[in-house]
Symmetry: C2
Subunit: 163 residues, 2 copies
């Protein structure tokens, strides 16, 4: 791997960590009461979105071949099902899971080499990967970066209006 | 440039184009009346967000050294100022600008080589770039991809609720 390739991975990772950090800042700025409100009338609650993002980040661990999920029990209430509008977990629990999972993911990410970022993820076969080499770990990370930003834009609606 | 580097640029561009396509699909699914509504109570209207995204994408042209903006007049009402809640442009005009700008951007992007994606953007000096080589065109694209996803998540709230 040459410097240019390492640089490209760094640029993507920097954008990912920046998005996680900004999401952290929003979640930390919201009270538990605000987190339990809907981002817009009839839409997902902040707590659901926090559980959803945590579950999706956690699921990157097995998808990228980096280990087991820490909280696979989050998939059912926050990914496979719509917002139940009742508390599956308290805001306090969700805040803890969110931090745990993002720390575990960062720790695994930081140990990956540039070469490893360009290897296939676990839900594509070796045969398909030979034909479609873009189905690599990096592509999953980019997709999850977009996903986090998408929902971060929604969570931002829970903040107090300043005007 | 080797195959791996070309592949990395392809993966980023694919994610960008996919996000533009999904945004297109949402905007096309909204009526003009829906576009003029606020994404959430007291928040930006769909039309403002459409103007905002168009202006920011358009501004990538000079920022990346790819030419002049097509509609620099959009910066004042949609970037420098908050949503006026009055029509600076009709939804029809905004839809046209949105398409024009994204087509112009795609046409310039498709002509860039992998090497050129790793060159500096125009708002960083050669001296600073020597010390901070991550301040390249690719980094701007990643940031704009995140920005588009952030607001796409908000625009999605204007769609009819299906449940």
């Amino acid at each position: 791997m040459n410097d240019q390739q390492n640089l490209m991975i760094k640029v993507v990772l920097d954008n990912w960590y920046s998005s996680v950090k900004r999401s952290d800042a929003i979640f930390n700025s919201l009270t538990d009461e605000q987190l339990l409100q809907e981002a817009a009338p009839g839409r997902n609650r902040g707590a659901y979105l926090m559980g959803h993002l945590t579950a999706v980040h956690d699921a990157m661990l097995p998808l990228l071949g980096l280990g087991e999920s820490l909280h696979p029990e989050l998939l059912e209430p926050y990914v496979k099902n719509a917002d139940s509008k009742t508390d599956n977990h308290t805001p306090q629990q969700l805040r803890q899971f969110w931090s745990e999972v993002n720390e575990a993911v960062a720790s695994k990410f930081n140990a990956l080499t540039t070469d490893e970022w360009l290897q296939k993820h676990t839900s594509v076969s070796a045969e398909d990967f030979a034909k479609e080499p873009h189905r690599n770990r990096l592509n999953v990370l980019l997709s999850r970066f977009g996903h986090l930003e998408y929902h971060r834009g929604q969570v931002a609606f829970l903040k107090e209006k300043t005007d």
